[in-house]
Symmetry: C2
Subunit: 247 residues, 2 copies
């Protein structure tokens, strides 16, 4: 699930992929220190390629680093999360518009199929209790749904921008062990039908409703957490204990 790819079999690339996966899987939770030397030893390479990997991750917003005092998995702020949803509203509404304009018949079919699958997952999760990790996995399926829409729009730039913004969401999920509320039954299928059958404008507005629904949920959750003693947003330094974390 790495965002930027450069299929070199280089060390730097391997380090990037391992770190990216580890962060997105929640094995490296936000706030975890990332020491070049420790990671280099763990990966069996020098610190140089590790540094390159960290630099890329920093450019993508998954890692933050203070000039000479270490890097760590980024802890997103409340306003960043909110801003991310604002950005997504811009991107995904346009993506929906392009879908309505350009999608082929097979695109529409595929979208409807994955929408039903996604609704089934959410329905199952409603009954069983679930951990944040389980939820993140469902969220990853959710990402496929939205990427399918973006790709049918036939605009690589828009699709990759959506992917980038979505990746940051995972980081946030693990920060707050957040769980979304339950969606009305058949929510995604209904959205998919509107995209497949509606005019470009109708598709865009349907997507806007969808994104805002989630955004409002998030804002409410953030208010709860920051209101009731900062929740888990600001965690302590957390000394190095880089065991076999990013295998």
């Amino acid at each position: 699930m790495p965002v930027s790819k450069r299929q070199n079999a280089d060390f730097a690339d391997s380090a990037y992929r391992r770190l990216c996966d580890a962060i997105l899987d929640g094995r490296l939770t936000p706030g975890t220190p990332l020491s070049r030397r420790v990671l280099a030893a763990e990966f069996g390479m020098s610190t140089v390629p590790v540094g390159e990997a960290l630099l890329r991750l920093e450019a993508e917003g998954l890692v933050e680093s203070r000039p000479r005092a270490g890097s760590r998995v980024r802890i997103p702020t409340a306003s960043e999360i909110q801003g991310n949803y604002e950005l997504r509203e811009a991107l995904e509404t346009h993506s929906a518009r392009l879908f309505a304009e350009r999608a082929t018949e097979s695109d529409r079919k595929r979208l409807l199929a994955t929408a039903e699958k996604l609704d089934a997952i959410f329905a199952r999760m409603e009954r069983k209790s679930y951990s944040a990790v389980r939820h993140a996995l469902a969220e990853r399926q959710h990402m496929r749904f939205h990427m399918l829409i973006a790709e049918a729009g036939r605009c690589a730039e828009l699709a990759s921008a959506i992917e980038r913004s979505r990746v940051l969401l995972f980081n946030w999920l693990f920060t707050m062990s957040a769980e979304f509320g339950v969606l009305p039954e058949g929510w995604h299928s209904m959205l998919a039908r509107k995209l497949a059958d509606g005019s470009p404008r109708e598709a865009a507005e349907a997507m806007r409703v969808h994104v805002r629904y989630r955004k409002d949920e998030v804002i409410e959750k953030l208010a709860q957490l920051t209101g009731s003693g900062a929740g888990r947003m600001a965690r302590g330094p957390q000394r190095h204990r880089n065991g076999d974390s990013a295998k």
Copy 2:
């Protein structure tokens, strides 16, 4: 005008800034080879910080590098340019919407003022003949106009996404020595008034018209260039001649 900033006074940062400025000013035109060693000697540092700078520029899309065969200032493809405008339509329409919702009175005033200034520049350019470089400078003023709208939207994520996508435009301008057609008189002032006085939806639609106007211009130009023998899109290797280019 660098995109990512990290106000270290480090060598890597200095190299990044110098290269970024040189590319955006047109001193380093698309296709120019960027040798780590040559640049290192020129900047009075080792190849390591230069490599870091190139890596950042690559992440931003200004530089491309083939695994072990050198980096060069990126030559954008036709579909990338078109996709960039598509992306911009998504971002800027939403930016306009937020402007209509959140801008303060002083935001509106400032926008109207810069719109008039911008219109004056374009009017002056219409009379005099102008080089691509001159045009790019005007385009930079144009960028301020759009960044002003984005910042009034109070969403840092959206603003930085717009900035990133706009930066790539400069690169393109120098590739094709492209010149836009002449805009109707008072075009930007009219747009600014619609953003300042209209509803969020009206603002968004006004911006959409603006972006598409430019997009159609670009598509037409691209068709001319690729149709009539590829124009200057694909330039030869162009041997190293890194004189005092990036001072």
